[in-house]
């Protein structure tokens, strides 16, 4: 078991982390490159920067825009808060970083982390139920839309049990192994799934705006490429 734990905490974790970071950096680099290219080619370079920034900020901190399905939105918001804060600011995680690479930073109190973990777990199940119960999101839902919230809950459930052994009906080491393996797999999935929005979200308002800023001769060039430049309408 120790060997498995070592593998999950060491090589597998680092592999998944590097894969995630490189994958997200690739997304970021490609998006930035294409964004810069689109801007360079645009006939009208007058980008409404203020509106783009406002929209970006609005959706990075969307509490004021819960919309008609506010329970769904509120659940999503709570879910994101926990998913972002707990892995990064759990005292136990920071301790591992300190031991492993000598880095540390302020941690959340364990009680707060516990509450946030519970919020994530409840929210993950609620998201699935809310998706299934609302006609529009049910119609749109793919396998990954149901599976990802539930899978994200796995390291949080197992992590909660690791932190609070008295609540844990299972043996400690297998629980810890499930926690680490599920977290490793989750990191691996980030750049391959819609979870990649964690790096792309700040750019989407800009790319949506830029796509409307056409290259001045794009239409003519398409006509030439398709052999339609002299064709009657």
């Amino acid at each position: 078991m120790n060997a498995w734990l070592h593998l999950a905490r060491g090589p597998l974790f680092w592999t998944a982390l590097v894969f995630m970071v490189l994958g997200l950096l690739r997304h970021l680099a490609l998006t930035l490159w294409e964004t810069a290219r689109a801007y360079h080619r645009a006939g009208d370079k007058d980008i409404p920067v203020r509106r783009v920034l406002q929209d970006t900020g609005r959706w990075l901190f969307p509490l004021r825009h819960l919309g008609e399905r506010w329970p769904y939105s509120l659940t999503t918001f709570a879910f994101h808060v926990g998913v972002i804060l707990v892995p990064l600011f759990l005292a136990g995680h920071i301790e591992l970083w300190r031991k492993g690479v000598g880095l540390s930073w302020p941690a959340l109190p364990n009680a707060v982390s516990t509450v946030l973990t519970l919020v994530v777990i409840v929210a993950a199940f609620a998201l699935v139920l809310e998706r299934a119960s609302a006609r529009a999101s049910r119609a749109l839902g793919r396998f990954q839309d149901y599976a990802l919230p539930l899978f994200i809950a796995v390291p949080f459930v197992s992590g909660l049990l690791v932190m609070h052994p008295v609540w844990n009906p299972f043996a400690a080491d297998p629980t810890l192994l499930v926690h680490m393996l599920s977290a490793d797999l989750l990191l691996f999935l980030v750049p391959l799934t819609k979870l990649s929005h964690m790096i792309l979200l700040p750019l989407t308002q800009l790319v949506s705006e830029l796509a409307w800023h056409f290259p001045p001769d794009a239409g003519s060039r398409v006509g030439v490429t398709l052999g339609k430049e002299g064709e009657r309408i």
Partner: protein
């Protein structure tokens, strides 16, 4: 020849006879991606679309139908699926390993229906947490479909006349008929208001070259009289170009290739006249497509001014004298999507209306969050889908209008006006009159003459139901040249 058999709208027979459409569609898609900048958005959308369904609640069509195919995100997925499969490395690899989705004729038909059930009003953009612009996807999908011949005939014939016809305008109005029309409007202004207001043609070096929706010359006489009155009173140097007098640009609705040509045609007329600015009339999509002048027009592109911006600036400057009496009827304002969605023109018309109306009320929601009239994206020109436009697509707007209790609905857009009139007719709102903003402004301008105010009101509002006005003042010559194909002659866009 047109056929109604394949889609909800007519397309030309040649489009239905085209062979090997999936291959041609993919070739067109590839060319558009190569030369355009759509890929930057498609890449992001394809990677992270969350399918949360928030957009559904913002869409007036989905609110009416509740049908999954009318969810904006579902519609966008139709094209994103093609993009992922054929234009991303992972999609190509997955297809090689596991097979799966293949573009077929039937799938193209599904897209052809779906992307013309959307007016590209872009209301859903504001509700997408991930910033997906479904209107952009509709815009792109329509262009790609157009390259395999899927274009509503109503749009196609208008663009054909505008770019290749003798008249170079979408309503096929010959220049002599246009001049007769303008002469008639001048006489009307003289008879009603006792003022001499000319419609100047081909004035070299004019500050403003005027491009209304050309159908206004046939259908919206009061709007054009209001435009001319404002220009005259403010001492503006303006002109109508005899080579091109149509601000309509249906390219915006189905092909950037056509849009580019139409914008360049418009800029060419301004350069020919050595004009300094483009003045766009009361037309939402004409304004939005004119905002592409800096894109297509090069470094010497003339600035673009919408007539609402001009009128508001002049009113603020005190150059438009108003009578003491205001418009007494309850008035509300419909924001055309193409000028209001991004917040560019929302306050100017309201300030004008508040200054001239004694009972102005807002629709809810409004401004950037307004609902489309139901005929946006060029669909108002497609008469064969009127039941759809004034039914499921327009019901939300009809409810909005009814809730205001307004007698007059103002919309500074020829397309919105046509749609709203049909909407009112089909939704038991026959007492509501739909007018342009300059129509009302004209009623309260103080010309300092002994003009007949009562007659002016009658002229501005018309004596019969909404929609009937516009036919009355049409000169015989103009009426005679109106094309028999109503779908091709009446449209612009909200």
């Amino acid at each position: 020849m047109a056929t109604p058999t394949r889609y909800a709208y007519h397309v030309e027979a040649a489009a239905l006879e085209m062979s090997d459409r999936p291959r041609r569609f993919l070739e067109a898609f590839a060319a558009i991606l190569r030369h355009g900048s759509y890929n930057v958005a498609l890449d992001a959308y394809a990677r992270m679309s969350a399918k949360c369904g928030r957009c559904a609640s913002s869409c007036q069509l989905y609110q009416s139908t509740g049908a999954p195919e009318d969810i904006p995100c579902h519609r966008s997925e139709l094209l994103l699926r093609v993009y992922r499969r054929y234009f991303t490395q992972s999609g190509v690899l997955k297809a090689r390993l596991f097979g799966g989705f293949t573009l077929t004729d039937a799938y193209i038909d599904e897209m052809a229906e779906a992307y013309y059930r959307c007016t590209a009003c872009r209301r859903c953009k504001a509700t997408c947490p991930l910033g997906m612009d479904h209107g952009l996807v509709t815009h792109l999908a329509r262009w790609t479909l157009a390259e395999v011949g899927v274009i509503p005939r109503a749009l196609l014939v208008s663009v054909r006349e505008q770019l290749e016809g003798n008249t170079h305008n979408t309503s096929a109005i010959p220049l002599p008929a246009l001049k007769d029309s303008c002469e008639f409007l001048s006489e009307e202004l003289h008879d009603i208001y006792d003022v001499d207001i000319p419609y100047p043609f081909d004035v070299e070096g004019a500050e403003y070259v005027f491009f209304p929706a050309v159908s206004d010359f046939l259908m919206e006489a009061d709007t054009l009289m209001g435009n001319a009155a404002v220009m005259h009173l403010t001492g503006a140097s303006w002109t109508i170009g005899s080579h091109n007098y149509d601000g309509i640009n249906y390219g915006l609705f189905y092909s950037d290739r056509m849009m580019e040509r139409i914008v360049n045609q418009l800029v060419g007329e301004v350069h020919r006249l050595k004009g300094r600015k483009i003045l766009v009339g009361e037309c939402g999509h004409a304004t939005r497509s004119a905002w592409y002048v800096p894109t297509f027009g090069g470094p010497d592109a003339p600035p673009v001014v919408n007539c609402l911006e001009y009128a508001y600036a002049m009113l603020e400057a005190g150059k438009i004298p108003l009578k003491a009496e205001k418009i007494p009827e309850r008035v509300t304002y419909h924001d055309p999507c193409n000028i209001a969605r991004v917040g560019r023109i929302t306050e100017q018309p309201r300030e004008i209306l508040k200054a001239i109306c004694s009972d102005y009320v807002e629709m809810t929601p409004n401004r950037t969050k307004n609902y489309c009239c139901g005929g946006g994206g060029g669909t108002v020109s497609i008469d064969e889908i009127r039941a759809f436009r004034t039914g499921p697509m327009g019901q939300r707007k009809a409810t909005q209008i009814r809730d205001t209790g307004a007698e007059l609905v103002v919309s500074p857009c020829a397309n919105c006006k046509k749609q709203l009139r049909e909407l009112c007719q089909d939704n038991d709102l026959g007492d509501v009159q739909v007018v342009g903003l300059h129509d009302l402004l004209l009623r309260v301008i103080d010309f300092g003459t002994n003009g007949n105010g009562g007659a002016a009101e009658d002229a501005a509002l018309g004596a019969e139901s909404s929609g009937s006005r516009g036919a009355d003042p049409m000169p015989v010559t103009a009426a005679a040249v109106a094309t028999p194909d109503a779908a091709g002659e009446e449209g612009e866009e909200s």
